[in-house]
Amino acid sequence: MSYHNPYTPPRKSATFDDYTLAEIRRAAATGIYDIRGAGTKRKVPHFDDLLFLGASISRYPLEGYREKCDTSVVLGTRFARKPIHLKIPITIAGMSFGALSGPAKEALGRGATISGTSTTTGDGGMTDEERGHSETLVYQYLPSRYGMNPKDLRRADAIEVVVGQGAKPGGGGMLLGQKISDRVANMRNLPKGIDQRSACRHPDWTGPDDLEIKIMELREITDWEKPIYIKVGGARPYYDTALAVKAGADVVVLDGMQGGTAATQDVFIENVGMPTLACIRPAVQALQDLGMHRKVQLIISGGIRSGADVAKALALGADAVAIGTAALVAIGDNDPKWEDEYRKLGTTAGAYDDWHEGKDPAGITTQDPELMQRLDPVAAGRRLANYLKVMTLEAQTIARACGKNHLHNLEPEDLCALTMEAAAMAQVPLAGTSWYPGKGGF
């Protein structure tokens, strides 16, 4: 019998894993950092790590389908003469015409309108299709001011001053030349086909003291009618929320790092910002410290996928949530029915994130006339409405089980955490204990 030495299989580095090695080779070959769409793909503590404590003997549940569980929310009650009344606390986040095709924006408007909620413009101005198909439309006021004009400001239902975004707090966006079509170029006053780099700071104010004056100007232009939201990326949520309130916001929109974006550096998306879960409690604390919780409304976004996520965000103190990536999936983004075409692009359905390249087989993140024909805005709008309905029913189911006749009556005490990380970030006890780590500071 021959003797073989015991074989030790080759071992790859956990630090230099296959993905890392490939990225080093790609960087060395091209000299350009990776630009992509979407939010962080790394695993971060999330709502999955929280569970609800349903009612049994100490609390009494409500009967599903019979006893009312209200889902309505009013946004902008602080200063605006015309606050926003929504039937459900799930809104559609800002996504630009330019990043998205016309039919995609129309589908979002249709779906939101059927569901009694709002949709939001993006970094590229307001289109007639979008205004026409959205009963309630929030107009984003961005550093680039692409397409900004007083007529659209006045025909909006609310104004969202965008200071930052969860995928890139502190950074500006990018829209590569392939997507600067004639119409997009015209709306943005840019030459066709060039890369469009958005600024990270607003051109005419810096800091909360100047922002207060900017908000006053916007209110004066619109005769104090519209609610004014301020959107920030999740990075320093306690201070940013407090300063947004001091600057005069009606609503604070807080976007965690799972929030999507049209295009920015992968290194930015994956390494800057905080998980949505970690942002909510400090923001709510800031509102409570100022006596403004529920008076200035808080909208949370970044990785909201289900009614459970909605219920958890609200239990932690949010007034509403916004969805972006999930809404794109609902209308058809990354659908496996286009798998053959995703493969031709070197990717696979579910992983496609090159939204900036304008080749989206689903016709959503593109300006290609042929590709965008594939998206039927009526059918896609219906899919979004169905999805929003399911999320709402799910959130109601959970709230009823916790004995609540309104989603807003969910509390942090209705939750427990599965992991130490989630317990610390959400400031709710580890399941079965009365303890959470990190009490007393953030």
Binding site: T30, G31, I32, S144, R145, M148, N149, P150, K151, L153, L176, G177, R188, N189, L190, P191, G193, I194, D195, R197, A199, P203, D204, W205, D210, I213, K214, M216, E217, E220, I221, T222, D223, W224
Partner: protein, 228 residues
């Protein structure tokens, strides 16, 4: 002609009065006294009305002006005529930073000096400054014309798109992707027109140099990365 005294009248009344103007209304001429550096004076004008402001104003005077003629007999704070759509805004004194920011149309005339970031992100507005302008002016300027009779500060036209810049005096430094360009007859013609509309006399268009985009940053190229 209504005279609005900002020492006794709330700003909100002034601006809503300006917004309520209908076509054919008699009162198309307003005078504002005692502005004393107030912010958001005469913002959101949406028609062919004239506002004369007797004194200096704070931030965002005549912001988003669409068709109005606003004259400030004093100096203007940050962001005067920001995002102007059309019409004319004249500042008799100096203007602070961000004058004409993101403006889409109309004419902004500054008879004194303008501070930093004059014409930042301009998108079609024409700006004529009788004096000098500060640093980072016309940053990311997309279209329109910036005419400066005096000098320009550091980093003029940084990351410029298609805005056209004309400076008669010295330029302290040019920003990334901004270069001097030849003046062609159509530029002289445009300059002549703008100088006349801005009330500039005894200055010939030939005295200006033109600056514009080198267009090297229009599509990402790693060899230009130092400019980012």
């Amino acid at each position: 002609m209504p005279v609005i005294d900002l020492a006794t009248t709330p700003l909100r009344e002034l601006n809503s009065a300006l917004h309520e103007i209908q076509q054919g209304s008699n009162d198309l001429f307003f005078e504002v006294v005692n502005p004393r550096g107030s912010h958001a004076v005469a913002v959101g004008i949406d028609g062919p009305i004239t506002v004369d402001v007797k004194g200096s104003v704070g931030y965002y005077c005549a912001g988003m002006n669409d068709g109005g003629t606003v004259t400030v007999h004093g100096s203007a704070g940050p962001g005067v005529a920001e995002n102007m759509m059309s019409g004319t805004v004249v500042i008799e004194g100096d203007a602070s930073q961000y004058a004409g920011a993101t403006g889409r149309g109309g004419l902004l005339v500054i008879k004194g000096n303008a501070a930093s970031r004059c014409g930042i992100s301009m998108k079609g507005i024409d700006i004529v400054v009788h004096g000098s302008i500060g640093h980072m002016s016309a940053f990311m300027g997309q279209s329109g014309h910036l005419v400066v009779l005096g000098d320009a500060g550091d980093a003029l036209g940084d990351s410029l798109y298609e805005a056209k810049l004309f400076v008669r005096g010295k330029v302290k430094s040019l920003g990334a992707d901004c270069i001097e360009k030849e003046i062609r007859p159509e530029h002289l013609q445009k300059l002549t027109e703008l100088l006349e509309r801005a009330g500039v006399k005894d200055v010939r268009p030939e005295e200006f140099k033109r600056y514009g985009s080198a267009r090297k940053l229009y599509n990402f190229n790693i060899d230009n990365a130092d400019a980012y």
